[in-house]
């Protein structure tokens, strides 16, 4: 049976084959230009915003530079989903600075990306990926990988 492909959170990123490529989705306040990720749909959180604006969906920059990175050598607790019967496979976490948005976004590294492949300041791109699969669903997420691939 084909699994349903479902984003782990609705509205945070495009489909993998979206026109213009996979992108994270935030919102931008029309009154003060502040950008929010995760998306803020109810209210602008800039205390200096003149108000009266609307929060419109906006794709974030597809590339950024590594602000910092680490990995998880031990199994995280729930609600992270992992199979306790399978030996733990460490994943990489990358904090990426998006220049145009003036913000740092955290994400997992794409499969095969380890801390040895990363350096602070390195250019990376966001890609669609699979967080985990269960019997009926493939849970989709965003991941980062070095531009030009892993050495």
């Amino acid at each position: 049976m084909e699994r349903t492909r479902t984003p782990v959170v609705q509205g945070w990123f495009t489909e993998a084959d979206a026109e213009g490529g996979f992108r994270l989705l935030g919102t931008r306040c029309s009154a003060c230009t502040a950008v929010f990720f995760p998306r803020e749909d109810a209210h602008c959180r800039n205390p200096h915003c003149p108000g009266g604006g609307e929060l419109a969906e906006v794709p974030l920059s597809p590339r950024g530079r590594v602000w910092s990175y680490t990995d998880g050598r031990y199994r995280p607790p729930a609600p992270y989903v992992s199979d306790p019967a399978v030996p733990w496979d460490p994943y990489t976490l990358v904090a990426v600075e998006l220049e145009a948005e003036g913000m740092v976004v955290l994400g997992q590294g794409a499969p095969g990306v380890t801390v040895a492949d990363l350096a602070v300041g390195m250019e990376v791109e966001v890609v669609g990926g699979v967080l985990h699969e269960d019997a009926t669903t493939t849970w989709l997420t965003w991941q980062f990988k070095p531009v030009g691939g892993v050495a």
Binding site: V8, T33, P38, H48, G72, P76, A78, Q108, T141
Partner: protein, 406 residues
């Protein structure tokens, strides 16, 4: 004449610390109420007061023990025996204890109470802290586990790696923080870990979140801490002519936009609409405390900072103004922050030796200041201690700093 002390003459807005008490940190396997009650009894005995002398009790909440934890003030009052005191319960993540002290101080300075008992205690699970149960996609603390598996040490590791890239710090430097704090903790009967640790032992411990190893990261512990605070008038009337005084309690929030990835966030604020303020949120916490206290880093005899990781202690050196940005390792390597140094940091042994008992921890920091300023800290005494600061940062924009003098 009190004006010749570094703490200086009594100034407006001070409250007296009449008593400090703790239940030792550890993994005792009992409930938080028991630890809190024991700490409260110890603080009352230290103050020479009866529980029935207390006008108000302020509890720092725990989110790990169900409803009684959410109403910690009343839970401790009940355990000590209902006696009609005013009650307050506060929660502010890692700053809960300091907010409890802040609430107590406000009541005293407003004339609502003469004597206030402040209590915090926790019974922590083994291993990583996890978010509250249930499916809560609108809770950033739930989301960071669900989507990223980003445990607390992952964030500490991001900050540590950042220091390595910006300032050239190394894993060996981080290990020296552990060596220093373990040496101090070995002298503290309330600490959970009371033995010396070598740099080789740190290097041999398992990597938890690259570049941090098990011995770089603080454990989660059971423990309890309490303070008896009073008005200066009450202290004098009780014959306490020269008590330790709390001169500042900073509980400021961050300013938008936050440019450092703080727990439990998945992203920082955007700096496109508003230019970020100079300095970090952590430095603003300390700055507010210094301004309120009318003193600065050069006046400090000691500091107790939140060393959730070894590398984070180095961040704090810079954030509380002991040195410039990027200079923390130099200060550490000089021995300035060790016992016997110019300004010992974490003479208690810090979280490194205690492990974190969240609502008790910021109170325990002030207990250590109290004993140091009284000159009763035993083998870990900072000679002639006259002013100290505590500092911490917690989830969801919380942080605190307390300045105490004598």
């Amino acid at each position: 004449m009190s004006g010749d002390r570094a703490g200086g003459a009594e100034v407006r807005g001070e409250v007296a610390v009449l008593g400090a008490g703790m239940h030792p940190w550890g993994k005792w396997g009992r409930g938080f109420v028991e630890y809190g009650r024991a700490a409260a009894r110890a603080a009352l005995a230290d103050a020479g007061l009866e529980w029935t002398d207390v006008d108000s009790v302020v509890g720092a909440d725990t989110v790990r023990s169900g409803y009684p934890g959410y109403v910690a003030g009343a839970t401790f009052a009940r355990a000590l025996g209902w006696q009609g005191a005013r009650v307050t319960s506060v929660y502010a993540a890692c700053a809960s204890g300091a907010q409890a002290i802040g609430a107590a101080r406000a009541q005293i300075l407003a004339g609502l109470a003469d004597v206030v008992l402040v209590v915090g205690a926790d019974a922590a699970p083994k291993g990583f802290f996890a978010p509250a149960g249930g499916e809560r996609p609108d809770d950033p603390d739930w989301l960071r586990f669900r989507i990223l598996g980003a445990v607390n040490p992952a964030y500490f590791a991001l900050y540590a790696r950042r220091r390595m890239a910006l300032y050239g710090d190394s894993g060996e430097d981080f290990a020296q923080v552990k060596v220093k704090n373990a040496a101090a903790g070995a002298l503290n009967p309330n600490a959970r870990y009371r033995k010396a640790v070598t740099a080789e032992e740190v290097a041999a411990s398992a990597v938890v979140a690259d570049p941090l190893r098990l011995l770089d990261i603080c454990a989660t512990s059971d423990g309890g801490a309490a303070l008896v605070l009073s008005s200066m008038e009450f202290a004098r009337a009780r014959g306490a002519a020269d008590p330790v005084r709390i001169r500042a309690v900073s509980t400021v929030t961050p300013t938008y936009p936050r440019t450092v990835l703080d727990l439990p966030d998945i992203a920082t604020d955007s700096a496109v609409a508003v230019a970020p303020a100079a300095g970090s949120f952590r430095s603003s916490i300390a700055r507010a405390a210094y301004e309120e206290a009318g003193l600065g880093p050069g006046d400090l005899s000691l500091a107790e900072v939140y060393d959730l990781s070894t590398a984070l202690e180095l961040d704090w050196y810079e954030d509380i103004g002991l040195c410039g940005e990027g200079e923390a390792v130099k200060l550490l390597r000089e021995g300035a922050t060790a016992l016997g140094g110019r300004v010992p940091v974490n003479p208690s042994g810090g979280l490194s030796s205690f492990g974190e008992a969240v609502p008790a921890q910021a109170i325990a920091q002030v207990c250590e200041l109290t004993w140091q300023l009284r000159g009763t800290a035993g083998a870990r005494q900072v000679p002639g201690a006259r002013a100290g600061i505590t500092a911490n940062q917690g989830l969801f924009g919380h942080g605190s700093a307390v300045v105490a003098v004598r």
